[in-house]
């Protein structure tokens, strides 16, 4: 059976190799800070395996996470000058390779889909080929590895250092923003452990006017969006708002259709995800990847759609769920 932990080790190893390369990259003014940040991340990826199965303590990992926060937060990381092709060379290369260049790029999603749709059902000797529940993660990983092989073959590239250097340049240009989504997930779990959810439920009970259906629906949807904006994650907002308004008021008291209320309520939360820097992986990471000067560019492009969609979701629950 192919386990998802193996794949996490591979990702960890990739971070470690790139960190080693950073230590000798003199074009990076903050090479030691960068190497420490990415090296620590690589070690944490591997160490986490034993935290998940509870055979090693989680506290050292917590210390390492705080160390990475300090390295990134106090700007000890930087980037070197990438050894790559210039615009003119790229135009010539594009003319030489033509549409073959798309083959490896499309291999990643194709393999990912094959893994979750087909390989998912295969088993050898009663044991599934891919670990249960990890098909999507493994699909992405296997897709990336196969695509790398296909890419090197199509482009007649024999040196494995070339893609590693190219990947490291992208990594350095994204910087610590790459780690932010994961840290926000960590923050969500700390909020849960400290009881932030229960408190919000109590406050909601006090503000809700009795028996007004539209107000209750609006409160649920706007609350989902606002909480998502704060937490950066609709999954974290859902239990809070559903326990506070969705289930007790909309479903039990007003006899709403539970499936409609819950499904559309979650989508109201997604409207919040579209406009918050806290949802870094959807908003800040693309801005970094696209090298935008304004890191809020995607949020600005999404905001009008998000506002309109919040209105649509309120209307859908109000009109069709009762």
């Amino acid at each position: 059976m192919i386990k998802s932990e193996w794949f996490f080790w591979l990702v960890g190893a990739a971070f470690l190799i790139m960190a080693l390369q950073m230590t000798v990259d003199r074009s990076n003014p903050r090479r030691w800070g960068s190497a420490a940040f990415w090296g620590l991340l690589g070690i944490c990826f591997v160490y986490s395996t034993w935290v998940v199965d509870k055979s090693l303590p989680a506290e050292p990992l917590g210390v390492a996470v705080l160390a990475m926060i300090c390295l990134g937060g106090f700007e000890f990381t930087g980037k070197g000058v990438p050894r790559t092709t210039n615009e003119r060379e790229r135009t010539e290369l594009a003319a030489r390779w033509g549409n073959k260049l798309f083959i490896p790029a499309l291999t990643i999603p194709l393999v990912a889909v094959l893994c979750s749709a087909v390989l998912d059902k295969w088993s050898i000797g009663g044991e599934p080929v891919l670990e249960d529940g990890s098909e999507t993660i493994l699909g992405l990983g296997i897709g990336a590895i196969i695509a790398l092989g296909v890419g090197m073959w199509v482009l007649h590239e024999r040196r494995p250092t070339v893609p590693v250097h190219a990947g490291r340049s992208l990594l350095e240009s994204m910087g610590w923003a790459l780690l932010l989504p994961q840290l926000l997930a960590v923050l969500g779990s700390i909020f849960q452990a400290a009881g932030v959810g229960t408190q919000v439920g109590k406050i909601t009970e006090q503000v809700l006017p009795d028996g007004q259906r539209l107000a209750a629906v609006a409160l649920y949807c706007v609350g989902m969006a606002v909480f998502t904006i704060i937490m950066g994650n609709a999954f974290a907002a859902f239990p809070v708002m559903t326990a506070a308004v969705g289930w007790p008021v909309l479903v039990e008291q007003m006899d709403g259709n539970a499936a409609a209320v819950m499904a559309v309520g979650m989508l109201a939360g997604f409207c919040g995800t579209l406009v918050t820097p806290m949802a870094a992986n959807f908003n800040l990471v693309p801005a970094a990847l696209l090298e935008l000067k304004d890191q809020y560019g995607p949020i600005k492009a999404q905001a009008p759609t998000a506002a309109a969609m919040l209105g649509c979701n309120i209307a859908i629950i109000y009109l069709f769920a009762f």
Binding site: P109, L187, A194, F238, A258, L274, A287
Partner: protein, 240 residues
């Protein structure tokens, strides 16, 4: 009540544009202390949270192959390809991508797109190339290029968000059934939740699609304005 101060730390931190990593770190520690967790328990919470959320960061594994393709001219080729599709404007191209992204996500193919896999290497360069053609083949002014790239990313995200919930084996649907069925001792079917996501998906396509089609007009105006600007500059330059 005091644990809500942790939420306040987050809001203040982002409002005053502090470094997001530090905001998260300080808010996590503060909330833990206010929620009466011991320092060791807080460290454990940070560690456990990191270990169980690693899948969020694994897209980094696609960077070497994307980097390899880029240094061999992937973005330039994407431009050439879109350059051959004469009638496709930036807005129409992105509207087409929105439909594709929503449909594929609704069939469970969420990883077919994304900022690292498709937007940076293919979608954004193609959208830019379409805008450049409207600009008479000249490179785009900075402001316009930022806008085209922002909208490329936005289209990918909107398509994913309001497509994926029509698929029943997606995280959010499983979260809803898991939470509701176990907390309230009831039985919600993933399929009925997925069907209730369809009206919102249709609204999202109509609203965002209409905005993308209007984007062409906005871009044309901004391009005309910047051409006029540079023309005046050139005129002043020669008048000296």
């Amino acid at each position: 009540m005091v644990v809500l101060l942790g939420v306040l730390v987050v809001i203040l931190g982002f409002a005053t544009r502090r470094n997001p990593l530090l905001v998260v770190g300080v808010a996590g520690i503060a909330t833990g202390l206010l929620g009466e967790l011991s320092p060791v328990e807080i460290l454990r919470a940070f560690g456990d949270g990191f270990a169980s959320s690693r899948s969020v960061t694994i897209f980094a594994i696609t960077l070497p192959v994307i980097g390899l393709l880029e240094r061999n001219g992937l973005q330039q080729q994407a431009r050439t390809l879109i350059g051959k599709l004469g009638k496709l404007t930036t807005g129409r191209f992105l509207a087409l991508y929105l439909a594709l992204r929503q449909l594929t996500a609704a069939f469970g193919l969420q990883s077919i797109g994304g900022p690292a896999q498709s937007v940076r290497p293919m979608i954004a360069p193609m959208a830019e190339a379409a805008a450049e053609r409207r600009n008479g083949g000249r490179p785009l002014p900075e402001r316009v290029r930022e806008k085209v790239r922002s909208h490329s990313s936005a289209t990918d995200t909107v398509g994913l968000f309001f497509g994926e919930d029509c698929f029943l084996a997606i995280g959010s649907i499983l979260l809803i059934t898991g939470f509701v069925n176990s907390t309230y001792d009831t039985h919600l079917e993933p399929l009925s939740l997925a069907l209730w996501a369809v009206p919102t998906a249709v609204c999202a396509f109509l609203i965002h699609g209409a905005r993308l089609l209007r984007l062409d007009g906005t871009l044309d105006r901004e391009l005309a304005a910047s051409t006029a600007d540079s023309a005046t500059e050139a005129a002043q330059e020669s008048a000296k």
